[in-house]
Symmetry: C2
Subunit: 392 residues, 2 copies
């Protein structure tokens, strides 16, 4: 066996994530490793919490990155808040609501499902009915931005309904954080998790989370032990908690945290409202281009995520061959459909650093070229102009 | 709020890990991110599994890195193998055996503890007695290399005892992998987890694991569902499993995996036996220096880990002040005691890239200077010469 060093091609990442990573972040990750209890690292952790509070628009004390991907952030929310026998209302309008159900059940809870069509926002009326029908429910869980379909739901309204029925709110914001307005305190979301590889444009591997005081009180007054040692907030807090001495829990992923710190510094420099506006603008340009080509959005206007554009595959087009040609000829990655949407849609991400005019025009041009070459039934040659008109 | 980019000092890391990261690894991590389902990344994953099999000395199909730190690797072993009601014999001779007990109990299992003094190897006779007294035990779990004390246990003998009593073996090799002989197949260890930030000299954040066919069969024939979604091997296998199509499970930490791949390429270049020998040689030199100064090892000879040297604090020395002075004057990190050893010992790591003659002499010189400056009762000025003699 003689395996050589790995040198990846330079891709443009316009799938559902990871998105293109800002080179400043890659460089930050390559800085010298320090110990995870080093005073300079502890200072970095404090800054990180402040930066995450800025990104989440919250003052929550308990705001930190989990040392594992978004799926672990999801699991941290559920294993800490759900005890055996608890009832959780779970909204499903795509893949990730189904994963929430799995989490509830593995914690010994009961999931009451509120189902919506994939590609639509969560229907607040159905949620209200479910809450009324289940007055003993403890938690309402929903996905703010469904990465599998590109739909955004009205987190503010859903949280209000939950509160009126005395339920805690768990919200998946993996794809919304920094890309779409997300106001954790104003909307009173109790347990919120996200990812680093979407609109923060950092590498994958960490999951920022934030917990309201009500959520923390629920965790600290549990009757049963949290089933996960690694994700038990009572223990993690000893390391990430404010003030005083840091207690060793696990070895933090030091260099990846350098990367997240840099990603959040970049967000702070741009200003989060500007980041939201930039994602919206580039979405509008991409949409103009897609529509000019004749591609149809999966999600109705008004429920679309600007950072994740799901479009139906035109009739007669081999969707996998198109993605493969984009990758091999243009080093461009766009996403396939997931779960029930597999084979039916493409998902084109405009996330974080990748949400820019250059990428919009490049993607439209490349897609147009590939589809034309396959004699696909599209309006060729008009997409880039339509998108450029949005920027003028 | 205006937080700036983080620029860490350049430390020499000679604590219990993270250890100094080879600059080749830092550079590899800063290469352009590709998608986690990109064909080039899938090829990297296959190479990674081969490289890990080399490091673990195994042919196990199921050999891969968990996308989270060693604590999550530990949890993956326990949540997949332990079902409610299962009895697990857990050896404790330091902090990490206690963590295993926590894991067993959180899975609904019963932990039968075999206790040894901290700083000693696990006593095979006690284990044999425990196995005899508990014929219904399903698993024997032990720590091969106790990072909290610097003791190594006889994994081969312990595994033989387990096998004779029809028990599976879970072994913590976080600190032994690549630093001390570890022969997973020859010793027939069933579920083995490690870390990246010790003798592989990679950044922290991943946990290499390997499972025997017997362990896999146990997982796939469980009566109950694995309580963790993130760590459920039945699901993770769809992504990391051999051959065929990769199913999305979670977004892999792409750039950190670049780093681990490079760390394993470096190990393959050196040859694992050479790596073991290098760790041994540098330990002998450090030991000569420590003994010349009058510092006493916590662990008796024959049970010492070469890569983690635990020594008692000399009378009248403020141990925290010494570590603080080493850090501020020399940018040198050594480790404090953990758990019951807090305040009583220092832990000096010679792990991976950090296990070299320069570091040995530098550490002895710096420690000598700091202790002499504090008028500590040590033999000053002789340590470096004693260590150098080992290299001549």
């Amino acid at each position: 066996m003689s395996i050589q060093s790995f040198h990846p091609p330079v891709r443009t990442l316009m799938g559902p994530g990871p998105s293109d990573v800002n080179p400043r972040i890659l460089e930050a990750m390559s800085r010298p490793t320090v110990g995870h209890l080093d005073p300079v690292f502890v200072a970095l952790m404090d800054e990180m919490k402040d930066l995450l509070r800025y990104a989440f628009r919250t003052k929550n004390d308990l705001t930190m990155p989990v040392s594992a991907p978004g799926s672990a952030g999801m699991e941290m929310c559920f294993v800490n808040l759900v005890e055996p026998g608890d009832k959780v209302i779970v909204c499903q309008n795509g893949v990730f609501g189904g994963r929430m159900k799995e989490n509830v059940e593995r914690c010994g809870g009961t999931a009451v499902m509120v189902e919506d069509d994939w590609g639509r926002a969560v229907d607040a009326e159905k949620v209200e009915a479910a809450l009324k029908a289940n007055p003993d429910a403890k938690i309402l869980a929903f996905v703010h931005a469904e990465t599998s379909t590109g739909a955004i739901s009205d987190a503010k309204t859903l949280a209000e309904l939950a509160r009126a029925n005395d339920c805690l709110v768990i919200a998946d914001t993996v794809t919304s954080l920094a890309g779409s307005p997300l106001l954790v305190d104003e909307w009173q979301l109790d347990a919120v998790y996200s990812g680093t590889q979407k609109c923060l444009s950092c590498v994958p591997g960490l999951s920022p989370v934030t917990f309201s005081q009500k959520a923390v009180d629920t965790v600290t007054s549990r009757k049963t032990r949290v089933q996960s040692w690694f994700l038990d907030l009572n223990l993690v807090l000893g390391y990430w908690g404010g003030g005083g001495k840091r207690t060793y829990h696990h070895t933090a992923p030091v260099n990846t945290l350098y990367g997240l710190h840099e990603a959040l510094v970049i967000l702070q420099e741009e200003g989060i409202e500007n980041s939201w506006a930039r994602h919206q603008k580039n979405h509008e340009a991409l949409r103009a281009g897609f529509e000019a080509m004749g591609l149809e959005f999966v999600v109705p206007e008004g429920e679309r995520l600007p950072q994740l554009n799901a479009v139906s595959i035109p009739d007669g087009v081999d969707e996998a061959a198109v993605r493969s040609a984009l990758l091999s000829s243009y080093n461009l990655e766009i996403g396939a459909g997931l779960g029930a949407m597999a084979g039916k849609i493409w998902r084109v991400g405009l996330m974080g650093f990748a949400s820019n005019e250059t990428n919009v025009l490049f993607c439209l041009g490349a897609l147009d070229a590939v589809l034309s070459g396959m004699r696909a039934p599209i309006n060729s040659g008009v997409a880039v102009d339509a998108a450029r008109a949005v920027y003028r």
